[in-house]
């Protein structure tokens, strides 16, 4: 028999949705800048020792309120605060609670939103009614307002010895008012997917409800949810700062950018602008970076915009 078999084409990997999205994104300079900012911030949160060798808890009264005249050199590159603590160290060490809080809130919100959304969409009926009405109730209360409400209950009653205790109360409050958007996206994606032939086909081959939900329906909901995650993280950081300024977020002596902002405002008018400007700058930069990233991610994942 003659050789009639077609030559096997060289293994040409089909680009996946995610690698396509990544390729689209790294072509945009704003995304690269945002990525670098986020990398810096995450490194600060993970390894504060790389940026400062000072201990933010060692404060000397006679060194209080030293202005950073020497510009990134000398003993206190960013000066000291009202209590004589090294401000660079305070700022760097304040990054971790901020970032950990934001990530905790987003993880809890996404998890709760996905699970509730998929159950509501898949089973429908009274469960859907219950979850959707609860969602309506939570969604009319702005996140900040709701968090203020919840946190005023905790005020002064929580210790803040460990990182967990520091962020537990604000994380709980913010998560409580953060899951709705993810729930809505997931529910919508579930409703769209659950009657598709391949879900029915999976059912016909004896797949259990849970398997259908998490193996066949959930992957469809992941894309719209992923696109809103970075933007939401930015929002959470801002809300945390607002709570701290109001004195009910992360509780001093623990620090976060919000706490630093709150303390900085007291001195900014008296000529110590840097105490206010640095945390504000860092916060704004980070939030912008997340927003840019989220925007680009949404564009890259949306096939209609390609």
């Amino acid at each position: 028999m003659s050789e009639l078999t077609a030559p096997v084409p060289a293994a040409e990997r089909q680009a996946s949705l995610w690698s396509d999205a990544l390729r689209t994104m790294i072509r945009r300079p704003d995304v690269i800048i945002a990525g670098l900012v986020l990398l810096l911030v995450f490194t600060m949160a993970a390894f504060p020792g790389l940026f400062t060798d000072k201990d933010p808890t060692v404060c000397r009264g006679r060194e209080a309120k030293l202005r950073p005249d020497t510009w990134f050199t000398g003993d206190h590159p960013l000066g000291t605060d009202a209590f004589g603590c090294d401000f660079a160290a305070t700022l760097v060490h304040g990054t971790r609670p901020t970032i950990v809080l934001a990530l905790t809130v987003i993880i809890v919100s996404v998890a709760v939103g996905l699970v509730l959304g998929i159950y509501a969409g898949y089973y429908g009926g009274w469960l859907d009614t219950l979850i959707s009405r609860a969602l309506d109730v939570f969604i009319v209360i702005p996140m900040l307002m709701g968090a203020i409400l919840i946190l005023s209950l905790f005020r002064g009653r929580v210790s803040a010895d460990t990182l967990f205790e520091t962020i537990a109360a604000p994380a709980l409050a913010l998560s409580l008012f953060g899951w709705m958007e993810f729930c809505r996206y997931t529910r919508a994606a579930t409703l769209e997917t659950k009657n598709l032939d391949y879900v029915v086909a999976a059912k016909c081959l004896g797949a259990s409800d849970r398997r259908i939900m998490f193996k066949h329906i959930l992957p469809n909901a992941i894309v719209p949810v992923t696109a809103v995650v970075p933007t939401t993280i930015g929002g959470i950081i801002v809300t945390e700062a607002a709570l701290a300024v109001l004195g009910i977020g992360v509780q001093p002596p623990a620090t976060s950018w919000g706490v630093l902002l709150s303390k900085g405002t007291e001195w900014a008018g008296g000529g110590y602008v840097y105490l206010f400007a640095w945390p504000l700058g860092l916060l704004v930069l980070t939030v912008f970076a997340f927003a840019t990233f989220g925007d680009a991610l949404r564009d890259a994942l949306d096939p209609k915009l390609r």
Binding site: L196, D197, Y198, A201, L205, G206, A207
Partner: protein, 345 residues
């Protein structure tokens, strides 16, 4: 290949192997539409034996797909409700089983192949994963072994170079190949009954023939019962053993395939056969069945086919016709079954 021998009673307690493989007995399904109950299936009955192929033929809306959904247990409830009858697998009525039992029956005992394989395969997973998933979930097979079995199955259904294509996604296959993948998935757990719901409608004619031959071959090899649901008499002609013709939610004629083609006993079947274009009838006008299929919400009185029937008389509008058997194993729901059978009408 080490194959564990599956005992029917494990997954289907009370199974009687002497009973018919699948028996649908006077199945009735109604849909709740805007407060009204609309009958979609009004007493469908047929029997499927091991190694036989039953073609269920009917127009759109005749209730053939709803029947298969009810048999599978995937009817959307609400709005669909099974209001009567029985679906017996090895003598065990499936309709009074709980959802969990029915789930183990699906795939293990009864599997289904859908019309549009592109939408019936999950676009997000490779075909190897989707086939292997069945082994991993139902049989607890390891990942590697599941993949090996997936390759075997793809090979069985005639996908060339199966070992290399097992990691491909559904969109990378052509229509016919996708339908083969669907068939491979349905066969994975070695079901005894395979329902093919218009398996070739979305394919072009040459591929249709290939798929039908594939189904026939596998059915013979595995001694399965095969139900072919179709609206195309031509497709089933050389594959099916028996035919059940459905009209307005009921089986109007049931017989062996040759019998039906040679001597139909119901005017509807007869009219359908006359409507098949013939090569030797060049220049003559194509015969059609006048009118439209009835709306199930307001069926005509008596015999639902009478407004379109060439043999109808006053009696047909007044009385529901009984089930008559003009010949052995040849039944028809028509007052004049005998006359139609003997070609007097």
């Amino acid at each position: 290949m080490a194959e564990t021998i599956r005992v029917i009673g494990d997954t289907l307690p009370g199974a009687d192997l002497n009973a018919p493989l699948l028996e649908v007995d006077d199945l009735r399904v109604e849909f709740q539409v805007r407060g009204k109950r609309v009958p979609a299936v009004r007493g469908a009955s047929f029997t499927l034996e091991r190694g036989r192929t039953l073609a269920v033929v009917g127009e759109s809306g005749s209730g053939k797909s709803v029947t298969s959904q009810a048999v599978m247990g995937i009817l959307d409830t609400p709005p669909g409700h099974i209001t009567g009858g029985a679906v017996r697998l090895h003598g065990v009525d499936l309709l009074d089983k709980d959802e969990e039992t029915r789930r183990t029956i699906r795939g293990n005992h009864i599997a289904i192949v859908f019309q549009d394989a592109l939408s019936a395969l999950n676009p997000l997973w490779s075909v190897g994963f989707q086939i292997g998933e069945l082994f991993r979930v139902h049989r607890g097979t390891g990942r590697k072994e599941a993949r090996r079995r997936a390759v075997e199955l793809l090979d069985l259904v005639g996908i060339p170079d199966a070992a290399n294509r097992v990691g491909d996604y559904p969109h990378q296959f052509s229509g016919g190949m996708r339908q083969r993948v669907m068939i491979a998935m349905a066969l994975a757990l070695d079901p005894e009954v395979l329902i093919a719901d218009e398996p070739t409608t979305a394919l072009d004619v040459t591929v249709q023939a290939q798929i039908m031959r594939l189904l026939k071959r596998i059915q013979a090899e595995r001694n399965m019962g095969l139900i072919l649901i179709t609206h195309d008499l031509g497709v089933v002609a050389d594959v099916a053993d028996d035919v059940a013709v459905m009209y307005a939610g009921e089986v109007v004629e049931r017989a062996g395939i040759r019998e039906v083609f040679k001597r139909p006993a119901h005017p509807y079947t007869k009219a359908l056969l006359r409507a098949i274009p013939r090569v030797d009838a060049v220049g003559r006008e194509l015969e059609v069945i006048g009118g439209l299929p009835p709306n199930p919400a307001s069926l005509p009185s008596g015999c639902p086919f009478h407004p379109r029937c060439f043999a109808a008389e006053d009696k047909c509008a007044a009385e529901v016709p009984p089930w008559l058997e003009p010949a052995e194993n040849h039944g028809s729901r028509c007052h004049f079954a005998q006359e139609v059978y003997t070609d007097e009408r």
